[in-house]
């Protein structure tokens, strides 16, 4: 692996990765007596594609929920852009520039693709309820500007043909893409993807991979993702955190992780003598 400095490092494909964007310090999360996450620390750097992997029940989604502010850990600190983050509501976290997609799609089925993506811009809208309701003056101008951004994302993700289609009528793979579009609409610094390829066929997976790489490349968005498909994870990510039973058992480049004996044990099991 390349030399890691406070300013960043050079990724395997030659991309320049920046300084630390988010840091998790000794996070522990409990539900009653059950420990979902035990004393985990890792950092996410600017411009990086960072994967969190692990067997079922390892605590990956809980970790993502801690990052997005949905769960507040009992112990440990979350540092974002050089400042310690106090306990926050998810919408406050969203305003800080963190957007996410969900494992089981959470879109508005009755609304068109365009409207769904527009909701991603909500945190950026400034005009008040009244002026939006009567759609006058600043509100109109603001919506036009937001629509322009949304159209650029529609163009980017190649979903022009379903712009006006209600989301409920779309196939699964496209819904996933619309969800990505909505997350992108918030212009996040950090994008969290919860199993973006789950349930997809090979072709849809390839498309999704391409879009994730393109997003990272074109917008410089930092991406943290959870994924089960090992091939995808190893191809896509710069660094991987491996979790098992709520503990961190590995952290490093895909090659390092792949040769880590603890990781091999967790995934393949080990012979007992």
């Amino acid at each position: 692996m390349n030399v890691m400095t406070p300013e960043g490092y050079v990724a395997a494909d030659g991309r320049r990765i920046g300084p630390v964007l988010m840091e998790m310090k000794n996070i522990t999360l409990r539900f009653g007596g059950v420990k979902a996450i035990t004393d985990i620390s890792f950092e996410i750097r600017e411009g990086e594609i960072r994967a969190i992997i692990g067997p079922n029940g390892a605590g990956k989604s809980s970790m993502l929920n801690v990052i997005s502010g949905f769960y507040v850990p009992q112990e440990g600190e979350v540092w974002f852009r050089g400042a310690k983050r106090p306990p926050m509501k998810p919408y406050q976290v969203a305003r800080q520039g963190i957007a996410r997609t969900f494992q089981n799609i959470a879109l508005f089925d009755g609304m068109s693709v365009l409207d769904n993506i527009m909701t991603g811009r909500l945190t950026l809208m400034r005009s008040g309820l009244l002026s939006q309701a009567i759609w006058w003056g600043g509100a109109e101008k603001e919506e036009t500007a937001h629509r322009e951004k949304v159209e650029k994302i529609i163009d980017f993700l190649e979903i022009q043909n379903i712009r006006k289609t209600p989301v409920g009528r779309l196939p699964y793979g496209l819904k996933k893409r619309v969800e990505l579009a909505r997350a992108l609409a918030a212009e996040p610094k950090l994008l969290l993807l919860d199993e973006p390829m789950a349930g997809m066929n090979v072709e849809e997976k390839e498309d999704m991979c391409r879009f994730i790489l393109d997003v990272n490349d074109e917008f410089g968005t930092t991406i943290a993702l959870i994924e089960h498909d090992m091939g995808v994870v190893m191809d896509l990510s710069d660094r991987v955190v491996v979790m098992d039973y709520g503990k961190k058992i590995g952290d490093g480049t895909p090659d390092e992780v792949r040769s880590n004996p603890d990781v091999i044990n967790a995934y393949l099991g080990v012979a007992h003598e």
């Binding site: 159209e151 980017f156 043909n161």
Partner: protein, 655 residues
């Protein structure tokens, strides 16, 4: 300015564009839907952009006589690139954008292109692939910047940057550009277009300014095209028709060319633009009709009744009203009501509300399909043409339209039928030569300028309309000497919505057999309504009930073929439904989706043997090519079915 001025000044496409920039300065010339909005450019703006681009090309060192390959979907920037190349004295060579790298390799090599203008990253990748071998490709220019940031830009430029450079350098190049435009002669090459290559390697058809402009002038006058027309440019830019409609006629008449947002939004964009002048191959009209019928099946009972009631009225009197023939007052009233309730809204949904002239060509169109559109009051006509003729050979005048003819010779075109039945023509649009292929030029075009079409046909007594039977070389003899015209039968089969493609075999054999491709849209919808589960095309194609339906269609066709004693030998005795769709990527169809008979016969020789050997099942493995060029194999066991034949043919077979 009037037409004679245009004739005096417009001796080249750049000259016509300059003329339009003056006479139609503020009228829209190009529109493109991007980011959800129609962006438009007036003639004056388009002319400025094109000139800047031409100066950018000069800055990159484009020389007179160079070939500039253009590959991408229909976009104003690519049309301007073609004209900009012409301004520099170079020759634009548009290529099919869905060609795989090896097909592109052949054409780029043959044309010796120095510059390639690409639509997006996908095309750039293909060009970079072949650049390893083809050292003559010096500059690659791309329109869409997406994904291009990390490429080596030493010989790669964004079109936007070329434009900017051209603008910045206008003081330096203004004089040179004017001189180059001034030197373009009427008989200089306007464009080089590659034939789709139904047989063998594609050939580069060289068309002069005279060819294109004379043809545009004649055909625009024939259909009274004016600057007020709107066309939708969605057919491949490499196809001669698009060049004539979107460049030749658009420049001559000064009308607006609209480019859709992407290939998949074409139907929505069609509806938004509502073109007045429209061209589509029969499959587009077929597809739309199938969609309408499927959606009507799902409609409520009252709507369905209304639809069928008024469509019956339209079928009875619609074509007559369109042709201006006398129709009774009662019928006229019914038709007017139908227009209010059904035809008007339907045309609006299809995007045909404003259509004044519509053409279809390339393949035979089913009479029911043709009549459906004419009944709605859409002036759909047929034309017959080819690349070598700058499209037009014959076309149907308003008021003399039928589904089984291709019309009378276009203005300025002479047509004669040889003793063999082959159709020959001579016209101002007749091509100059095949590029680097004198032998083919000589065998196609004789010293007097007559060109063999390769099609067999005859002029109908009385009306003087041309009828085409089949490709002259495909018309053959069966073992017992009876006439074998495969296309004639295939077209009859393809008129059924369930059948997408058919290939008939029988030359030199004692009876005819066929491969059938089902239409996944139509058959899939039928399966859904009848609760028939299937997981793949292959499984649906092999379903016994699907076989039953197709057998019904084949037997109906047999009865209709038997009515013509000359062709009764072409009835289909045995058939099978193919386990995969015939595909241009596998070389089975041309890029314009015409069946490549010999390649199919070679590739599926085992299936043909089985058809004639009397087997009723056959196991086969087929190699397929995916869109990204990888190869795979499909394995299947196919059922072979027998079909009843009518009349005399059965006796012959029994003997």
């Amino acid at each position: 300015m009037n037409e004679s001025d245009a004739a005096a000044e417009g001796r080249s496409i750049p000259a016509l564009m300059a003329l339009n920039a003056r006479r139609h300065a503020s009228r829209p010339a190009y529109r493109e839907k991007e980011f959800g909005i129609w962006q438009s450019w007036t003639w004056a703006e388009a002319h400025e952009e094109t000139r800047a681009l031409a100066m950018g090309f000069l800055a990159l060192g484009l020389n007179p006589g160079d070939h500039v390959a253009i590959v991408g979907r229909n976009r104003p920037a690519l049309y301007w690139s073609m004209v900009a190349a012409q301004m520099c004295g170079a020759v634009p060579v548009p290529l099919y954008q869905d060609a795989v790298a090896e097909e592109m390799d052949y054409v780029l090599d043959h044309a010796g292109a120095r510059f390639v203008v690409c639509g997006d990253q996908e095309q750039v990748d293909k060009v970079i692939d072949v650049q390893e071998r083809l050292k003559h490709i010096e500059q690659v220019i791309y329109v869409d910047k997406r994904g291009m940031r990390k490429y080596d830009h030493s010989r790669l430029n964004a079109l936007e940057d070329v434009l900017a450079e051209g603008r910045a350098a206008h003081n330096r190049f203004e004089a040179e550009l004017a001189a180059r435009i001034g030197r373009i002669g009427y008989d200089d090459t306007c464009v080089m277009l590659y034939t789709s290559g139904t047989t063998g390697k594609p050939k580069g058809v060289v068309l002069s300014n005279r060819n294109i402009i004379e043809t545009a002038k004649n055909s625009a006058a024939f259909d009274h095209l004016s600057q007020r027309e709107e066309v939708l440019a969605y057919l491949p830019m490499a196809w001669v028709g698009d060049f004539i409609f979107s460049i030749g006629q658009a420049m001559w008449a000064g009308f607006c060319v609209n480019c859709p947002e992407s290939a998949v939004t074409m139907m929505t964009d069609l509806r938004e633009i509502g073109p007045t002048y429209f061209f589509a191959p029969p499959r587009v009209f077929e597809g739309q009709l199938t969609q309408v019928m499927i959606r009507m099946e799902d409609a409520g009972r009252f709507k369905r009744w209304l639809f069928h009631r008024y469509m019956a009225v339209a079928r009875r009197v619609g074509p007559a009203i369109l042709d201006g023939n006398p129709v009774g007052l009662g019928d006229r009233l019914s038709y007017a009501l139908g227009d209010l309730f059904i035809y008007g809204p339907l045309k609006n949904t299809l995007g045909f509300s404003r259509i004044r002239v519509g053409y279809t060509a390339g393949e035979a169109i089913g009479p029911e399909i043709f009549d459906f559109y004419r009944a709605l009051g859409i002036n759909l006509k047929q034309l017959y043409g080819q690349t070598e003729a700058s499209v037009f050979i014959t076309q149907q005048p308003d008021g003399q339209v039928r589904s089984d003819t291709v019309g009378v010779p276009s203005p300025g075109v002479e047509v004669r039928i040889a003793d063999t039945g082959e159709v020959f023509y001579r016209s101002p649009g007749t091509f100059v030569s095949y590029y680097k292929n004198e032998a083919s030029t000589a065998s196609t075009k004789d010293a007097e300028g007559w060109v063999a079409t390769g099609d067999a046909g005859f002029f109908e007594e009385g009306t003087g309309h041309l009828r085409i039977i089949d490709r002259a070389k495909d018309v053959g003899k069966m073992a017992d000497g009876r006439l074998f015209a495969p296309k004639y039968v295939e077209n009859k089969l393809k008129f059924y919505p369930n059948i997408l493609e058919a290939v008939v075999f029988g030359a030199g054999r004692s009876f005819c057999t066929a491969f059938v491709n089902i239409d996944l849209n139509a058959v899939g919808n039928w399966a859904e309504r009848n609760n028939i589960a299937y997981s793949s095309y292959q499984e649906l194609a092999a379903h016994p009930e699907v076989y039953q339906t197709i057998r019904g269609h084949v037997e109906e066709v047999n009865r209709s073929v038997a009515e013509d004693p000359m062709l009764s030998g072409c009835q289909i005795h045995r058939f099978l439904i193919l386990h995969k769709e015939l595909d241009a990527d596998d070389g089975e169809l041309t890029r314009t989706r015409k069946v490549r008979r010999n390649i199919i016969a070679e590739k599926y020789a085992d299936l043909i043997d089985a058809l004639y050997a009397g087997k009723d099942r056959i196991y086969t493995e087929t190699e397929v090519t995916y869109e990204d060029g990888r190869k795979g194999a499909i394995k299947a066991t196919l059922t072979i079915a027998d079909a009843a034949v009518a009349g005399g043919a059965e006796r012959m077979a029994a003997e």
